[in-house]
């Protein structure tokens, strides 16, 4: 199990690093897909079966396809992709800030002691999560559906040439 964790973790980090460093957004998108699918593997290792399926179905299958669709639709050429030159100072400074913040977060997370527990038999199953979603989380669930509706309307309005 440990080997699997380190494999998935390494792939996720690699995908993330490639995504932020590659110039071509399409290559970046595919690196991000690698990262997302590795994260899906980690979700499966954490017995979150429903979230695992959703991660592949929604993230890798729908959101990323949407992003790739946009990248292909814009079909940017070399000039449009060329980013304005940024100073080395800025790169180093940003990287340093992020690294320090990550280090701080890791220090904080290191103090957390996990609780050893045996999950219930339906832990992470579609039925279990679904029941929870429609009982304890009913109002957030409805709010999310409203947000999605607003997003749909907003996107249609944005994309229309003439309203």
């Amino acid at each position: 199990m440990a080997i699997l964790f380190y494999l998935f973790a390494a792939l996720a980090v690699l995908g993330g690093l490639l995504m932020v460093s590659l110039r071509n957004p399409l290559s970046g998108a595919f690196s991000l897909i690698l990262s997302l699918v590795s994260l899906a593997g980690l979700f499966a290792m954490l017995q979150a079966e429903f979230v695992f399926i959703l991660q592949v179905l929604v993230y890798a299958g729908a959101i990323m396809v949407l992003i790739i669709f946009t990248i292909m639709l814009l079909n940017l050429n070399k000039d449009e992709l060329a980013e304005p030159p940024v100073g080395w100072m800025r790169l180093i400074f940003t990287a340093l800030v992020c690294a320090v913040a990550a280090f701080g977060a890791i220090r904080v997370f290191g103090d957390i002691t996990p609780v050893q527990m045996e999950p219930a038999p339906d832990f992470g199953s579609i039925e279990g999560v679904g029941r929870l979603m429609l009982s304890d989380f009913l109002y957030p669930f409805e709010v999310i559906s409203l947000i999605l509706l607003v997003a749909v309307v907003g996107v249609v309005l944005l994309a229309k040439k003439v309203i």
Partner: protein, 431 residues
């Protein structure tokens, strides 16, 4: 938790079986596509390629195709993005084959104290796994379209992305009705639920309890496989050949195999969800096992009769083609006649032998049930594969705006209506 080697062997055997099933249907589908389209368009279809004069009504053409595609140069045009160009065909094929892992093809097989479920992986997520994996399938097409660096290929890629995202929604929503009726997402449980009878005589198949859902699912499945009437990504009259215009040789063949594998997968899913899967209507597994000797006799008699009837047909045909060609093709009828006559006689002999049998051992009975159910599953799946070819021969292609209007404005609202109706009926029935 140390899995032993027998378990590994069983899982390996199951994987080999389902992939073998899927892959061996590919040449049959290509044959359907040619001979079936020829039949629909009232022409002869391919009938030249022959091995020692044997043509098998055009099936031998597939061998010629494979040889041609293997020998062809795999062109890599200079303007393409090489890495993505080479990965794309593989992606398109891999995900489809992965999805076969959860398709059940028979009831659980009880032998030697083991309870073997007849699907490679009995996941709790079941059908959602297929949806998730097939949603990744679009990347093969997108990558091919983009990496070809060709505007027609890009158009094909764009069209396929939009189409696949749009039709995944009605596909998933059509399934919700099935989940509500059968109260599970596990495919084997769904199939088991379809074994009951409705009002005492009608098999409780998905198509009976979810007619609207079945229609929506089938239409969406056609769109997901990029088949006619939804084959805009490769509309050859508008964008040459769409996303695979720059491909040749085996890479091109991989796209085609991917498309046919997707057809087999869709046919298997339609069968499993809406047409009873491996269920033989009115005969649940236990009744087959209890009456296995009768089933064995009927199967042997049917096989013998079928083979002998085919042999007679072949005999008549060999008389007709005698002297028609002047080469070895004339022998084909006689060879097929001899082959089927031998098979028919052997089956008839086995049938006569089995007449004296009044009961067979438990494992034999289970095997009879297994064979009967696998045959039922195969027959239904092949029928649905044929429907895919049939539709291609009958319907014209959609225009792009019509495709989007159908998907978003008709099918998605209809699938919501389906969910609502299913819920109302379930509540009224007290379920």
């Amino acid at each position: 938790m140390t899995p032993n080697w027998v378990d590994f062997a069983i899982i390996g055997g199951k994987a080999i079986f389902i992939w073998g099933f899927a892959l061996s249907l590919l040449p049959v589908l290509i044959w359907f596509e040619r001979k079936g389209a020829a039949f629909i368009q009232d022409r002869a279809g391919p009938n030249r390629a022959a091995v020692f004069g044997i043509r098998l009504a055009g099936l031998i053409h597939n061998i010629a195709d494979v040889v041609k595609l293997l020998m062809k140069e795999m062109m890599i045009p200079p303007q393409v993005n090489r890495t993505y160009f080479m990965i794309a065909p593989v992606l398109g094929f891999t995900f489809i084959l992965t999805a076969f892992a959860v398709i059940p093809w028979a009831d659980r097989f009880l032998v030697a104290g083991r309870d073997i479920s007849m699907q490679v992986a009995d996941l709790n997520a079941g059908i959602l796994f297929i949806l998730a994996v097939t949603s990744l399938n679009v990347y093969g097409i997108v990558l091919a379209g983009w990496s070809s660096n060709n505007k027609f290929a890009l158009m094909g890629g764009l069209r396929s992305t939009a189409q696949m995202i749009s039709y995944e929604i009605p596909l998933g929503l059509a399934l919700v009705g099935i989940f509500m009726v059968f109260q599970t997402v596990q495919l084997n449980e769904i199939v088991r639920g379809q074994g009951d009878l409705l009002w005492g005589f009608l098999p409780r198949w998905g198509i009976v309890v979810q007619p609207l859902g079945a229609i929506l699912f089938i239409v969406a499945a056609f769109a997901e496989t990029n088949r006619n009437p939804f084959d805009l990504p490769e509309g050859e009259s508008e964008i040459v050949a769409g996303y695979h215009v720059e491909y040749s040789g085996m890479r091109f063949a991989l796209f085609y195999m991917g498309e046919y594998a997707a057809i087999v997968l869709s046919a298997a899913m339609i069968t499993t969800l809406f047409f009873g899967g491996w269920q033989i209507p009115w005969f649940p597994t236990e009744s087959i096992v209890a009456n296995a000797h009768a089933w064995l006799k009927v199967m042997l008699a049917g096989g013998a009769l079928g083979a002998l009837a085919f042999a007679v047909l072949m005999f008549a045909w060999s008389k007709r083609i005698h002297g028609a060609f002047g080469d070895r093709r004339e022998n084909e009828g006689a060879i097929l006649f001899a082959l089927h006559a031998v098979i028919g006689v052997v089956l008839a002999y086995l049938f006569v032998e089995s007449l004296g049998m009044s009961s067979i051992p438990e494992w034999g009975a289970r095997t009879v049930a297994l064979v009967a159910q696998i045959s039922a599953f195969a027959v239904k799946t092949i029928f649905w594969c044929w429907v895919f070819i049939w539709v291609r021969g009958s319907l014209p292609r959609f225009r792009y705006d019509q495709l989007m209007r159908l998907g978003w404005k008709n099918m998605i609202p209809l699938s919501f209506v389906n969910i609502l109706l299913t819920g109302i009926v379930l509540v009224l029935m007290g379920g």
